[in-house]
């Protein structure tokens, strides 16, 4: 992986971005369209698909369920230096400093999507195949903290945790346990209040191979009486030289909403 520098012809750009606030209620498809529009405006020499409806060649990592937030979304953009029709005087070439690329793309994306890192990458495998696990921060409600901690311990101690999920219209039973790589409550120091009003925070590492386990499945595994108040993906992990690493480390801190009333909350 090489960092983008002036003059270096890039084959592929990788962006890491956040999805925070109200925009979390848009779908993965919606986000793909936002990127397509932003890339058209950017002037980047993007490679296009063939056919009657050309689309920019984008590949996103693991789909983020609608309604969940993220600090670690990724998109790979294929570039084509010969991409026609974009006048060089307008917009980006793809050879700019990563910070500038990130800034410009953030400005072109809707509030709530902020690019926190950009890099030129060579020929890489698809994120979908390379990512092995994700870290999630979850806010849950429904039981007392002590009860929640006990359930977490029980889950971690259990040899298997069967959960039901729907697949192609059928209910199948999966073993959740091998996919839960880490699970722990995050102490908040909140006072004991009526159970229905207290929100507890959990951190969880969930495997994405052979398939991505969703936070709601984890909640099922912890008992059906838990409500998921909020879910935020904080990391996606790949294996590199036997070590866990991020596809792209965040460069700049995520800049949150520019206008309080739009992307806020």
């Amino acid at each position: 992986m090489s960092e983008a520098g002036p003059g270096a012809p890039a084959e592929r750009l990788r962006f890491r971005y956040t999805k925070l606030g109200k925009i979390r209620f848009t779908s993965q498809r919606d986000v793909a369209r936002m990127w397509e529009r932003a890339l058209r405006r950017s002037g980047l020499p993007v490679a296009w698909t063939e056919g009657f409806s050309p689309r920019p060649l984008l590949s996103f990592g693991l789909a983020l369920p609608t309604g969940h937030e993220s600090l670690a979304e990724y998109v790979d953009v294929r570039l084509d230096p010969a991409s026609s029709g974009v006048p060089p005087h307008r917009g980006l070439r793809g050879t700019e400093e990563p910070e500038l690329l990130a800034q410009v793309m953030t400005a072109l994306l809707p509030d709530g999507l902020s690019v926190v890192a950009a890099a030129s990458v060579g020929v890489v495998g698809s994120l979908q195949q390379e990512v092995t696990s994700c870290t999630w921060e979850l806010e849950v409600r429904g039981v007392a903290l002590r009860e929640l901690s006990e359930r977490i311990e029980r889950l971690l101690d259990a040899p298997s945790v069967p959960v039901r999920r729907e697949r192609k219209g059928h209910w199948v039973v999966d073993d959740l346990r091998p996919s839960v790589l880490r699970l722990a409550p995050i102490p908040t120091g909140a006072r004991e209040e009526p159970v229905a009003q207290v929100t507890h925070r959990i951190v969880a590492d969930l495997a994405t191979q052979p398939r991505g386990v969703r936070p709601v499945e984890l909640l099922d595994g912890l008992g059906g009486d838990l409500a998921l108040v909020r879910a935020r993906r904080t990391h996606q992990w790949v294996e590199r030289d036997g070590l866990r690493a991020e596809p792209l480390a965040p460069g700049t801190p995520p800049s949150l909403d520019r206008q309080a009333c739009r992307g806020a909350s």
Binding site: K22, I23, F25, T26, S27, R29, D30, R33, M34, E36, R37, A38, L39, R40, R41, W48, F52, S53, P54, T66, G67, S83, S84, G85, V86, P87, R90, L108, P110, D111, G112, L228, V229, Q259, C261, R262, G263, A264, S265
Partner: protein
Amino acid sequence: MASLWPRIEPLLSQVSKPARYIGGEEGAVCPEHAPGVVAWLLVYPDTYEVGLPNQGLQILYEILNERADALAERAYAPWVDMEAAMRSAGVPLFSLENHLAARDFDVIAFNLSAELVYTNVLNLLDLAGLAVRSAERGDGDPLVVAGGHCAFNPEPLADFVDAFALGDGEELVGEMNEVVAAWLARPPAERRRHEVLAALAGVPGVYVPSLYEARYEHGRLVGTVPVDPAAPERVEKRTVADLADWPYPKRQLVPLTEVVHDRLNVEVFRGCTRGCRFCQAGMITRPVRERPADQVLEMVRRGLERTGYDEVALTSLSTADFSGIEETVREIVGDPANGERVSVSLPSLRVDAFTVGTAAAIQRVRRTGLTFAPEGGTWRMRRVVNKLISEEDLYGAVDAAFGQGWRRVKLYFLIGLPTERDEDVLGIAALGRRCVEIGNRYHRSVTVVASVGGFVPKPHTPFQWFGQDTVDELRRKVRLLREAAAGARGLTVRWHDPEASAAEGIASRGDRRIGAVIERVWRAGGTFQEWSEHFDLRLWQEALAAEGLSLEEVVHRQRVRDEVFPWDHVSAGLHRDFLWDDWQDALDERGVEDCRWTPCYDCGACTGGGLEHVVASAVPPAGGSQGTGQDLEAAGRVPVRFLAAHR
């Protein structure tokens, strides 16, 4: 005034498509509410996906937000799952920008684009926490206004809406705002609702139904007359004389989630004088006012750059009639800034080979299907409705479409038209089969879709006197057509539910008594009547019966020459004599020419308002005028102003 967002947010994980309720579109503004600033909530009474692209609403949104003494936010009808969640959580109708309750606004303004949304209007008022009937709302409640094409028969909603705005809103909305601002400047204790409504009635183009009384004799309307000195006898629509003065929307909203018509839209002209007799839009939006081509190009250029869209639609009622349409589209697709990846779509294509050639030249990228609207299955029928497309033009267009590589052609037809005979209906099948044959000369497998709608007569058109076909009759005709098309490889017939046409007919030409019917349908749970999964004609029939009315009286009855119409006191500028003569011409199977390029029929739209057509070209577009064989020598004797040619 507090944001409802903290109470809305927990609901969104329970509902489908939550992105409908978050706002945040590119182009949206979050205005600051303050004393002296009239707060408008612009409401489209259907789902977000259907309502967001509405250009009328977006134009007013911008114009109001540009004013120092006004602000505007938006709301759409929450889908049934969200409505249920809102009602059970006690969350009222809210705006998408600041997520404020509808009650926090001074004016709630509805866009009325279709009659079947009327029950949604009541539902949204109720969801806002307001009484649905105007008479039961108090001095402190928001004013409820409505505009859009359906306002040209305001009577079915007369009991629920405080004031209607007729015609183009660009100028009118500002004048209404000033009246409301002056009223709101008084101390709350001194604000009387009647006073602001009387003042609004003094604004040309505003109709305040509570200042009029509908009178009936022997169960039939005999007149709608003013009962207040502030109310004019007749309310004339407003018309913007020159579209060039109003280059809106300048900042078209770019939704975060998928909507219908998800593309840049640029209106190239308003009004249409093709004279199709079934078409209310063509009658009530006259005269033709073209936007200068330079301005169109500028709006396209800026719009694409700002939005990142890869498609632009040049909108109007018949875009191929725009002067210099070819040059304009060529310039758009040839603009290097667009990277050769922008496609131009021309909704409402004219039916001739020339038009197809233009379409082929510009739709390089997306060639999915071409749509034409011959409307009638026989030349006789097309003369009746004045859609003067010769067989030659039609088959030429279809031949050109298949020859240029299209595999799919869609044809729009109406059934239940005046004077219709079975042979006219069967003509649709014959025409469809012929189109498949033409297509098979080019491709082994082609698709021709004949899409058939049941005709609903509309106010202010020559067909306003016509007795609409019954549900049974429309069903019989659909059956006839399906049988005739059966076994024809490549030909598909699709039809609109005849029951929905009946319900639409109730609201289309109904009088003030239909208000009670609408209220009953709504109270019985009949919302989203535009949606087939929610539509239920029985609700309408039961409501009619409960009010002592019938489909026969309201919908199917042929009207007499001196019929008192519920909309006689609102005017789209058209002379009643013109409409009657045109109705007689229709019955005599006589077509009339487009008055842009031939003598004036004195329909009233220009002369009455001191207006004129604004057209850039002195001659009709190339490719013939849909077979009218117009005498072009006569052009120029009509009130037509020709725009200076661009470059």
